[in-house]
Symmetry: D2
Subunit: 144 residues, 4 copies
């Protein structure tokens, strides 16, 4: 079950060229949860040398979308309708992970929450949190 | 006046290595408004070949932060507290622009709205909209 | 056209008992825009004597939902999927108005922006802004 | 400790006349968490007879603000900067509760998550979720 879910998500993740550009990796998938990681790179930073909020948001967004996909029927696609992010602490670390969890899966809309953590050595620090709405569709464009 | 504002924002923008990685360009700055553009590149795409929502969000976020900076006192820094994005249409185009406008500038917090457009030939289409809260601080880390 | 739209919205508004409880009034409706007003009452206040954010949010939410209804096909119902509110200034005034405008109307989802103003004498002050996602449905429950 | 926190929050809650108007009750307070309940009343409903989203949002907002107050220093006041709500299911029930939990408490800004549940008999159903930013201040107006 869970293996199939991982393969399905992995197949789509591999097609997200932007995830490759960021150096992001799909770490784990279970029905309703996804973890994505990205190591720090200077070319992903903002003006103070921290990871840019856009990078954290990108892995949070992908983690939310794939959590929705992990509970959707096989023939369906998912697209982000909207999300909100709170940036809680500067993104300082060697590596960053986004962990998502479905809050409610509906026929049309799925709501997903996700947290992002900065990792330094063995220490993890919560740095951001997202609340997202995902549409499950058999089309490739949102709301078409 | 406006020239100084452009220079101040440009100086910070040039230090955002992630903007360079995305190929993003600072197009214009006036007190309270900023425009940032990014041309399409396949390595910035999601699984359907559209620009990844994370890229659109990144230029919207930078456009909001710099709009807040453009109305802040010179010695201050800005950091994103939170933002919400609605993705309205698939990001299909040759080039994408984010245009921000300050809604309310406060001593501590500034609220900024921004729209993103996809450009194909001479046609512009609204594809996303952001509402963001920015903190103005003389520190380099949020809420420290 | 516009008259029909007003009547359709008015018919639903009159059934929202909570709007009556708040003393809220439907001021105007055009295709894509709605204005709702509420006079100040002490029993709607928070601990500092300002209008409670929940009241401002309630009229903003209704204004967004009805703006979506004003551009929907006649047999359809609308329900709020989610919204975000920024509270910009304390809600101090004799009367408060929420003005909404559709940003994008889709077959399933409509995105609406709205601003709330406090009115004192002839002066209007922007006090809050909302960005909302509304679902257009022929059912009475969201995403059922 | 917790008793003092309850009293401090209760004192402010009692001054929120709008909570009385809604029939809302402060159920519990611990450092970082708050629960507020409101029984169903027809005069709080929307056009389909469900509790209006504005009522659910109002108790979620108060629960988030008071969770921030519960971890703030005694002389401080709290004000909502912004919040986002996802409405997950129709608000059908005999009674509704909002439960908040601080995600990060900062010197200036505190981020709080909250869920709302509809209660019918012994059954609880998740109907809404909020993510909120609260400012801790010694003033009575936001960002003054």
């Amino acid at each position: 079950m869970s293996a199939n879910v991982f393969e399905r998500v992995q197949a789509s993740f591999a097609q997200q060229q932007f995830m490759t550009t960021l150096g992001a990796m799909l770490v784990s998938v279970t029905p309703g949860t996804v973890e994505i990681a990205v190591p720090f790179r200077a070319d992903l930073s903002q003006q103070n040398g921290f990871l840019h909020a856009g990078v954290i948001t990108s892995i949070l967004d992908s983690a939310c979308g794939y959590a929705a996909l992990s509970v959707a029927s096989e023939k369906f696609n998912v697209l982000s309708v909207e999300f909100k992010v709170n940036l809680l602490s500067p993104a300082v670390g060697e590596r960053f992970v986004a962990r998502s969890q479905v809050k409610r899966a509906g026929k049309v809309l799925t709501v997903v929450a996700a947290d992002a953590f900065a990792i330094r050595g063995t220490e993890e620090k919560l740095i951001a949190t997202m609340l997202a709405t995902i549409i499950t569709t058999n089309a490739t464009a949102p709301d078409s």
